[in-house]
Symmetry: C3
Subunit: 205 residues, 3 copies
C-alpha cells in the first residue's frame, strides 16, 4: 500500500473517531442534533486546522475541500442514531479519543515533515494536531481537557510522533514506520488506562 | 446602496452588537470596567480575526486598522453606562447575539468568496465567523457556548450564509441577497427562541 | 547592552515565568508530571504562537526552533521539583504572571513594530501576546481568565506596550525604553494587587 493512500485512510479514520468522540460528549450533555453536529465537526477538524494554520497552509484543508467536515458530520449522525450501540463499549469517548490521538500524532508529524519542518518541530506539530481536537471538545463542554489530568495522554502522542520521525530517519519505509507508530501510540494510551499506569505527581502539600 | 457600503455597515453593526453582548456577560459577572472592555473587544473582533487567519489575510483587519477594536470598546462603554437601559429587553444577550450571528454569517461568507474560496468553504467560513465571537465570549466566562446547547443557532448562521451564496449563484444582486440572508438568519434565530422551536435530541438512555 | 540581546533575555524570562505559572496551576490541581509539562509549555509559548500567527510569521518561532518549548519544559520541571520553594511566595502564580505580562507586552509590541505593523496595531498585538498565555492556562484549567476579573491586568499590559511604542516614537533608545516599559507594567500590576487598586464596576442592579 502506498504511503499516500495509507495517510489518506488514517486521516479519514482520525476525523471520524474524533467526530464520534465529540458527538458522544454532546449526547451525554443532552445537546440537540445541531449542537451534536457542531461539536462533532469541531472535534474532528480542529486539530487539522490548527496544524495547517501553524504551517501557514491556509486556507486549511478542512475549508478548501468539503470532505473533512462531511466525514465529521457523518460521525455525528452515526453517534446520534447508534448511541446505544457505541455505548456498549465501556468508555467509548476514551477509546475513540485514543485512536484519534495516535492517528493524528503521526499524520500531523508527517505533514509538517513534507512541508519542510525539521524533525523536532514536526514532532511537536504532530502532538498539537493530536491533542488540539480533544482540547477544543473538552473546553467547549466546559470540562478540564483530558490531556491535563489523565496520565499517559500527551506522552502517547509524543511517543507516536517521535517513533515515526525516528523510523524515517533510520531509513525505514513510510508504511511500516507509520503503522507501527500509530499502533504504539494507541496501544500505549489504552494500556495505560487498562492497567492504571500513573505518572509521578508532586507530593501533596 | 452599493454592496461595499452595505457590508461596511453590516460589519460595524456586527462588531457593535457582539461587543455589547460580551460586555453584558461581563457586567452580569460583576467584572471591572477593563474586564468589561476586554470581553467586549474579544467578542466583537474574535470572529473576524479567526476568519482572516483561516483565509491567510494576516495581519487581520482588526489589527491593521484601528476601528474594529474601537467600535467594540465603544460598545463596552455603552453597556457600562447604559446597563439598565439595555436590560429592559427581556434577554439582551440573546437578542444582540442573534443580530451579530446573522450579520457575521453573511459578511464572513462574502469575504471568503471575494478572496476566491469556493462556495461550500465560504459558507463554512461564514458560520465560523458568526459563531467564533460568541464561543470565545462563553468560554472566557467559563460557560458552555450557546452554539452547543441552544436550538437553531449554528443552523441559523448556516441558513444565512447558504442563502447568500445561493442568491449570488442564481444571479441576484448583492444588496438584496445580503439583506435577505441577514434578515432570514436573524429572524430564524429569534423565531426559534420566541416559539420554542426545538431540534431532535437523542433519546435519553 | 544591545537591544537584540535584551529582547532575547526578556523573551526567555517571559517564557520561563509563564511556564512556572502554568505548572503551579497544574500542581495545585494535582495533575501528573506530563500534565504539568503540557500546561507549562502551553502557557509559556501560547502568547508567542498567537502573535506569530497573527503576524503571518509561520511556522511560529516556538515550532521553528526548539528552545522556547525547552525553556517552558524546564520551568515545568523546576516547579515540579521545587514546589514548596516557589510556594513560599504568598501568591506565586500572580507574581510570575505579572512578570510574564510585562515582558511579553513589550516584546510582542517590538516584534510587531519590527515586522512593519503600525504602532496602534503593534500595541494591541503586544497586549494579546501578553494575555494569550494566561488566558489559555486559565481556560484549560476551567477557570475564568484572570484578565477578566482581576483589576489592572490588561491595563498594565496596555500601559507597558504603549509606553514602549511612545518612547521609540519620541526617539528614546531601545534599551532604556524597553526596560522602563517592562518595569512600569510589572510594577503597575503588582502595586494594584498590593494596594488593592480597583477599577470602577457597573452599579450592581
Amino acid at each position: 500500500m502506498s504511503a499516500t493512500l495509507l495517510f489518506s485512510i488514517l486521516n479519514v479514520l482520525g476525523i471520524f473517531v474524533f467526530g464520534l468522540s465529540g458527538a458522544m460528549v454532546a449526547i451525554r450533555r443532552n445537546f440537540d442534533v445541531f449542537g451534536i453536529l457542531v461539536l462533532a465537526i469541531a472535534t474532528g477538524v480542529a486539530g487539522g486546522i490548527i496544524r495547517d494554520v501553524l504551517l501557514g497552509a491556509v486556507p486549511p484543508e478542512a475549508l478548501r475541500t468539503f470532505w473533512p467536515m462531511a466525514i465529521a458530520a457523518v460521525a455525528g449522525l452515526c453517534a446520534f442514531f447508534f448511541t446505544s450501540l457505541i455505548e456498549r463499549f465501556k468508555r467509548p469517548v476514551m477509546l475513540l479519543d485514543a485512536i484519534g490521538l495516535g492517528v493524528f500524532a503521526v499524520a500531523g508529524c508527517r505533514k509538517a515533515l513534507v512541508l519542510g519542518v525539521d524533525p523536532p518541530g514536526a514532532i511537536l506539530l504532530g502532538v498539537m494536531t493530536a491533542i488540539g481536537g480533544g482540547v477544543l471538545r473538552d473546553i467547549m463542554a466546559a470540562e478540564v481537557p483530558r490531556v491535563l489530568h489523565e496520565d499517559v495522554y500527551a506522552l502517547a502522542a509524543f511517543a507516536g510522533a517521535t517513533t515515526y520521525a525516528s523510523c524515517l530517519w533510520l531509513g525505514i519505509a513510510e508504511t511500516p514506520a507509520a503503522s507501527g507508530a500509530v499502533l504504539l501510540a494507541v496501544g500505549l494510551r489504552l494500556a495505560s488506562v487498562r492497567f492504571g499506569w500513573t505518572l509521578p505527581r508532586p507530593p501533596s502539600s
